[in-house]
């Protein structure tokens, strides 16, 4: 078939079957949907990164000496598995979407890695600094009970008063040197006795502060704390406007004091 015949055949088919070019907007819609989905997935990736940093930074290292477990077991128990999995999923979705945009295939590996991983990681760091990690972790724990029990999430570990672990928010302080009322993450109210011995060195308690405690359950709704630590050390929401609790190390004297306190309940 010569060129003219072939061209005629193609054009006749176009005419006879009323074939028209697809409108320009339909391609724009696909293009922008891919970019929007990619950017949205990258934002979710940055949130997942924030949660990873937040949970690793607040991995209970400050109470490790009181837990009585090996370093390896401790590290394994504090890895934020759920957020690592979520980060991988969001990374995959971001990569897929950006690669399928009009020019996505042109990026070489390094600049591509910078775009789809570097930016969300930097953004995740910023979110962590301004307390987004704390806010998301707290909101999920309050509104999604299943979240509290996911591997690597801290809430379930501190919801075992029978085993001596309790956490929550201080509602009111009855006696600044002896007791306060606490609402745990499941909404149950507790009267917490601590006295001078319950506070970690240099620590004070105040209303609306979230705390973790190691001690013993001494009544139906009563808990005696041997040690009281803030719930968040790093990346607390409103950290730039509120009090910064700072890092604490456990001194030998405190270790002995807590051991004595705990042994009294045995």
């Amino acid at each position: 078939m010569n060129e003219k015949d072939f061209a005629e055949k193609v054009l006749n088919k176009i005419e006879n079957e009323h074939i028209e070019p697809k409108p320009r907007w339909s391609f724009f819609v696909v293009h922008y949907m891919l970019w929007s989905a990619g950017i949205f997935a990258a934002l979710l990736l940055s949130v997942a990164v924030t949660l990873i940093v937040f949970l690793v930074a607040n991995n209970e290292w400050d109470v490790y000496p009181f837990l009585g477990i090996g370093v390896f077991s401790f590290i394994l128990s504090t890895i934020p598995y759920i957020w690592i999995v979520m980060a991988c999923v969001f990374l995959g979705v971001t990569v897929y979407n950006v690669r399928h945009t009009r020019n996505g295939y042109q990026y070489n590996t390094v600049p591509f890695a910078v775009i789809v991983l570097g930016i969300p990681v930097i953004l995740g760091g910023v979110w962590f600094m301004v307390g987004i990690g704390d806010s998301v972790d707290d909101a999920l724990a309050k509104h999604m009970s299943i979240y509290r029990y996911m591997p690597g999430v801290r809430h379930a570990k501190w919801d075992m008063p029978e085993s001596g672990f309790l956490a929550g928010e201080i509602m009111s302080i009855a006696d600044a040197s002896a007791s306060f009322m606490l609402k745990d993450f499941r909404g149950r109210e507790w009267r917490v006795m601590f006295g001078d011995a319950g506070l970690a060195e240099g620590q004070s308690v105040e209303e609306y502060m979230r705390v973790r405690m190691i001690g013993r359950k001494t009544g139906e709704k009563e808990f005696t704390a041997c040690v009281v630590h803030p719930w968040i050390i790093y990346g607390r929401a409103r950290q730039f406007t509120g009090m910064d609790y700072g890092v604490r190390t456990v001194s030998e004297r405190e270790r002995v004091r807590v051991a004595e306190c705990l042994s009294r309940g045995m």
Binding site: A7, V10, I14, I19, K22, S26, F27, Q106, N108, F112
Partner: protein
């Protein structure tokens, strides 16, 4: 043949022709004149279909090109874009048939084989016909994407950027694939007792 004369086609760039086609579809004939032979050859190189079937595929490729004219990004080379459409169409056609695309030995012409042999620094006194025979054989033994890269680079004579746009892979990956394809060809040729300079 309609009102578009071939001389008008020759004066216009690809991009001009696309703009004109969107106003008057008869200008699409110019695009067809310009790419029919090249694309037919390419389709026959990456498939094992007979001429008639290759022409049917080509017709579908042109129809697809016409339907997607508004998707053409003018920052790209039109040639790369229409080759990409042809390639994707062949791949999806083979997917439907559940078979892998196979190149057809007869479509590897001697001048392209000489081009490849020159690039690979094949040394010594090798009979041209025999060398061509060996090259056809080893190219057909290459796996995807190396075979496809060899066809685009040495038979279609595409630049790295064009191959990147046709296959939708980064330029760095094109370079890597070409290097690996050549390494595989060197090894296979050496097994055929043909000396090459690596």
């Amino acid at each position: 043949m309609r009102h578009v004369h071939e001389d008008i086609c020759n004066e216009k760039s690809d991009t001009d022709l696309i703009r004109l086609t969107l106003q008057d579809k008869d200008y699409f004939a110019c695009v067809i004149y310009r790419y029919e032979a090249r694309l037919l050859r390419y389709i026959r190189r990456i498939t094992d279909v007979a001429l008639e079937e290759a022409e049917d595929i080509l017709q579908e490729v042109f129809i697809k090109t016409y339907i997607n004219l508004h998707d053409f990004d003018e920052t790209l080379n039109f040639s790369s874009w229409i080759y990409r459409i042809a390639r994707n169409h062949v791949i999806s056609m083979h997917r439907k048939r559940m078979v892998r695309p196979e190149g057809w030995l007869a479509n590897m012409d001697d001048s392209s084989l000489e081009n490849l042999a020159g690039d690979m620094d094949i040394v010594g006194e090798v009979d041209a016909a025999l060398l061509g025979e060996h090259l056809r054989k080893v190219i057909n033994c290459l796996q995807d994407p190396y075979k496809e890269i060899v066809i685009l680079r040495f038979f279609e004579e595409k630049e790295y950027k064009e191959i990147s746009d046709i296959m939708k892979i980064p330029m760095g990956t094109v370079a890597t694939y070409i290097r690996r394809a050549k390494n595989q060809l060197h090894k296979k040729l050496q097994k055929e007792h043909i000396n090459t300079v690596s």
